[in-house]
Symmetry: D2
Subunit: 395 residues, 4 copies
């Protein structure tokens, strides 16, 4: 048996029903297009009882003119032949009466009542009462946002403000899950300052500039640039840390280290500068070294890098320890000297690539800056000049 | 009361325990560093009973030499003073005995047994038995992967192969949730062919090339290029469709349409070509028009675009209907003429930006091609030339 | 000597000058805030000679009322004391006269004229005349967009339409730089159909759905999903091709291959199915095999995969050759059997990861579909349920 | 005339020539496959004169055994019939003699010498000498990397370290192009602390976690999460700033502001909290307000937000000013009170969305943290549970 009666009640939450759909039904009834009995109720009539505009159901039910008020609609439906109760409470009896009439008239045959299935309990209450346990699919350890305010590794946000934490301290909590001493977090901030930008010509800034000039939103611009960070762009600090750690831990002499790298065809990362040289030292390196020497308990990895530099300088005067090498080696000293990490944890940190994370975060400052810069300059769509491309078929 | 006994059993699943950790404990016991009684059992001893290498617990338990075998470990632990049962089954009694001895010696005071909480039922079985209903957090309608093979809008994958569907047909199922006639899906494929690439100089290809030369993986390269697609790059087809639809539906004359756009300072999208002109028509446009005229039930939107072109050509000879305008208007004809979409659905498709999706998908072919191209050519890291940048402080 | 005279001509292109800035100057002159002589000319006065609205300079110069017309502005400036010539041509003489007056009055001392530097030639004309050669920074080989219409590996776009090329043929041109026979490009299309989607629960679709529900644009949604494709999601076809190629080329027996994989702790990719088994074969695999056997010159790699399957089925009945393994091995047959690639080129194609490209492209169809789906369903911001997360401090 | 002689000299830079290619030629000559005269010279023979290993040309030329030494190759070529001079200098005469012999033997006919085209000058020297000017395609103003060390808005990196700048100061230089007072840059740092993370359940962290569990690299994980930031996730601070600024500048009373927002169906951003209320104030808000009141010259926008809060609290007790609203309004105060921005610049900063940039940068700390967290926890591929999805056909 198919449904023989059209039940019709405007639902408040049914977003797809436009405020004039009821009149389509009125029209259809008038034109005899609907042969089944229609039982209808348009909610929202008590809106009339309020002075100010109260929102009932969808916008149409409340706004303005008589024509669109719920009362007017109910009246129109009734006049068109629909069964319309006098209140919402009358809807159920009206359905019952209409049904029985259809049965009496022989239009429909009543079917056997089925036993309704018992309503299952809601998951959340079942969990709360301890009847059911739901498996969790995600494990997370760094930030808990369930309480009054989020905590970073157990420290409440307001404590962070109160205790005058810096950006480095928050990184310490969210990445290392512990509160590193201030000389460490200060060093992390220094790394961010030094890696924040390197001009518009490097891969990352260039792609961000191109995307910004394509009129895209900030995140797209930033992301398009970030995606170039990897082995060839931005990887030098990470590589310096890895190779210096490996060489130092295996107690290689600078000669053995440098020559074994050469043998593998790998340039020693962290060594060499375009302009700087033995007699024209990089001030940034000097400042970092100075800071570390007066604040770090030990700078053995940096000292190792320095004696490697002594060796490479004997080969060419521009093979100085550069900023990447200095940061890379000092980061090792930070991990090793603060006595808050096991050897295994240090290995994991280096393997996972925390230093890469530091570079990515720092350079985001520059990439966001380039996005704003291009937008402010109102630069048009970038198109690479044809003349700069070698179109080739034979490669 | 704190725990007075160290219970120790090598767990198979504890990924962080290295195969040599047991010996660290042996060492600690020998050196008297552990004062609590240790009850230990290293699992995996039956490994010896098998000829071939069976995997028990972690790798260390099975591999090679006596030193690392479970038996050797148990022996070493026992010799160092640990309580080691003779089999796994003996672990529980051993714990009991050790506990009672500690009580008797007065080292620990037994506490009152607490009633263990009843174990809650597992969610999946509770759902299956109808006791609990869990809310779903995601609604999805296009592809069902729960059965023997995934279905696209209800059509099984194997049917798609069997019926010789094309790429356009699959797009039809996954984007439009219905099987459009072949003339439509063929037209969708034509659009993909024509939008697949436009050389290395446009924003998208350029960023992809830069990222590929930074040595990044395929997805990063593709994505870095895709992110430039938007209002200024790749948006012309979408814009053409929107404006032609609006103008045609509002029954604007070509004069009214073009001049009102001019008034708003917007160039008519889909009109104009760098080289092509009245007397040097774009062959691609002609081929698309020809295809549509012989396969589409109606091409009213395209005809509208053609009379707009007649008007713009009267202004300048290169203001021809270009490929973007032709695709944009014909896509409207596709939607309107196949009689499978309500007016509301068509509006939604245009608003959501399905044509943009078509461009994005098509151009992905080219961007992936550029990634492969650069990798094959072994191009080094790209750095934009300094000389091409105006470094300014005064803007 | 600092500049002693304010020259003022409203520039058409100066986007930052608002149409009312001239009146600010008028005001400043009236209030005696400007002591230097002002020579001014507001362009756009001939606008009055035209009936229709012609656009001169910025919008303000043309539009509407007297107040903002260029004439009105010039008049106001003159009345405020500025030197205003009667036409643009009069600007230069006016400057000269004002300058000479300042000299005569002793306000300024004329300085020695410097020889202006010779104007360098423009790069493009210098290149055209052969005087200069500029290095190109980019090499590209797959698509040339400089002519009347772009070409894909030398084939004009219109030819592609004319010859009824399919999506697979365009991929062939843009990725392989050659026109592969139709049986190959048809197979490529089949791969796209089968990889287009796999439901809403896999990593890629899930992230796309979350991003779409965050209200982001199509490209962001697609990209957020694509970024999950890698070793664990989507990598099985690629892996299957690599391992089957290596095993077959090294002439390993199925036993040697499977057991050596097991020894390395790697599951054989392309083998195994959740539901399918020896007696309930995967129809998709059968269809692909059937197609290849009747169209490919040779299917040696697939046959190798089949005998591997025979061996694995002897271990467990669900260790069947699955769709990934079937596609992976047949793609090797495609490359090897069409006689259009050198052995070195095939190795390069496998190493670069063309199959991964195919998966990425195919799945983009699904991810775009999921974006549209969520948008159509008007889904709100997704927040992962707290209950599904194990918040832990001790890991 | 085609080339009648094969010239052969191993090029150092030709990366595609393998060290054994010369022997292939030897083989071909011996087998009579090459009929043209071959003049050959393998460079690198002086390698023998050095004791240590000096790198000449490709690796093969220097390394090891006699077989692969340049001398051995030259000898083999000569024995196979090639014309091999005794040194590199002999190559040119050898070519001449071979050519003349071919002419004398009548094998080739000498053709008229053509005048070689004059070699164009190199672009870089032509620019340096002032002969040519090349247009620049990119404008950039925030960071200059051409000198000895990069400068941020004119400030050298080493100065930044020396003067003990913080992260906020670098943001000030790269985003605002000026050195804001420390109370401003300190406030910027506070915003970063408070926005750094908000747990694993929000869109951004969730997508990052999913991507990390797919085994992808750090940048892909970060990016996949960042792409969810937009109108619905992370946009509240930006929106709060925009609406508060607009309302305050238009001098709307709190009643007018709140009710007009309601009229438009927009929730007032920056107002409302899940837990916090009139009697349980948000400590973070209090701390920020306290800081601003004692450090900012003026806090008029924040005060406006506070009187808006007074009005909303009269409606419901949890409609408090939340952290987003507090940061948003105080950022306006920062811009307005430091007297370093014109009104137009402030409007531009708000329009461009600098606050969004701050959120994106801050949250990157958290997203990178989640990436590390999942990697450290060695979590497997995430698959959303089927049970959580409503698969529907009827929407």
């Amino acid at each position: 048996m198919s449904i023989q009666a059209l039940l019709f009640q405007t639902m408040c939450c049914a977003s797809t029903i436009s405020p004039r759909d009821e009149y389509s039904l009125v029209e259809a009834l008038k034109q005899g297009k609907v042969s089944k009995p229609v039982i209808a109720w348009v909610s929202g009539t008590c809106a009339k009882l309020f002075k100010s505009e109260v929102q009932f159901g969808h916008a149409g039910a409340k706004s303005g003119g008589d024509l669109e008020s719920a009362q007017a609609k109910n009246k129109a439906l009734e006049e068109a032949g629909a069964i319309v109760p006098t209140s919402f409470e009358g809807l159920e009896p009206a359905i019952k009466i209409a049904f029985q009439k259809l049965v009496e008239d022989g239009v429909i045959l009543p079917t056997q009542e089925i036993v309704p299935p018992s309503v299952p309990e809601d998951l959340s209450s079942a969990i709360k009462s301890g009847k059911v346990r739901a498996p969790t699919h995600i494990v997370s350890t760094i930030c808990d946002d369930r309480g009054e305010e989020p905590t970073y590794a157990g420290v409440a946000m307001s404590t962070i403000i109160e205790k005058d934490f810096g950006v480095g301290d928050v990184i310490s909590l969210l990445w290392f899950k512990r509160s590193l001493p201030r000389y460490c977090t200060k060093f992390i901030e220094m790394c961010i300052l030094l890696c924040a930008d390197h001009g518009p010509c490097v891969s990352g800034a260039h792609n961000t500039i191109v995307t910004s000039r394509a009129g895209k939103d900030l995140v797209s611009c930033l992301v398009s640039g970030l995606l170039t960070i990897g082995p060839r762009f931005g990887g030098a600090i990470d590589d310096a840390a890895r190779y210096f750690k490996d060489a130092n831990d295996r107690k290689l002499s600078p000669y053995e280290f440098v020559e074994s790298m050469k043998g593998k065809g790998i340039r020693v990362p962290g060594i060499g500068h375009r302009i700087k040289s033995r007699d024209n030292r990089d001030k940034r390196v000097e400042l970092l070294q100075q800071y570390a020497r007066s604040h770090f308990p030990s700078v053995k990895y940096m000292e190792y890098a320095v004696i490697v530099e002594t060796y490479t300088l004997s080969k060419a005067s521009n093979l100085v320890l550069n900023v990447d090498g200095c940061i890379g080696s000092l980061f090792l000293d930070l991990l090793a000297s603060c006595a808050m990490f096991s050897q295994q944890e240090i290995d994991e940190i280096i393997e996972i690539g925390y230093l890469n994370g530091l570079f990515v975060l720092a350079r985001s400052i520059g990439l966001i800056g380039h996005t704003f810069d291009q937008r402010r300059l109102k630069q048009p769509l970038y198109r690479h000049p044809w003349e700069d491309v070698l179109y080739s078929k034979y490669v």
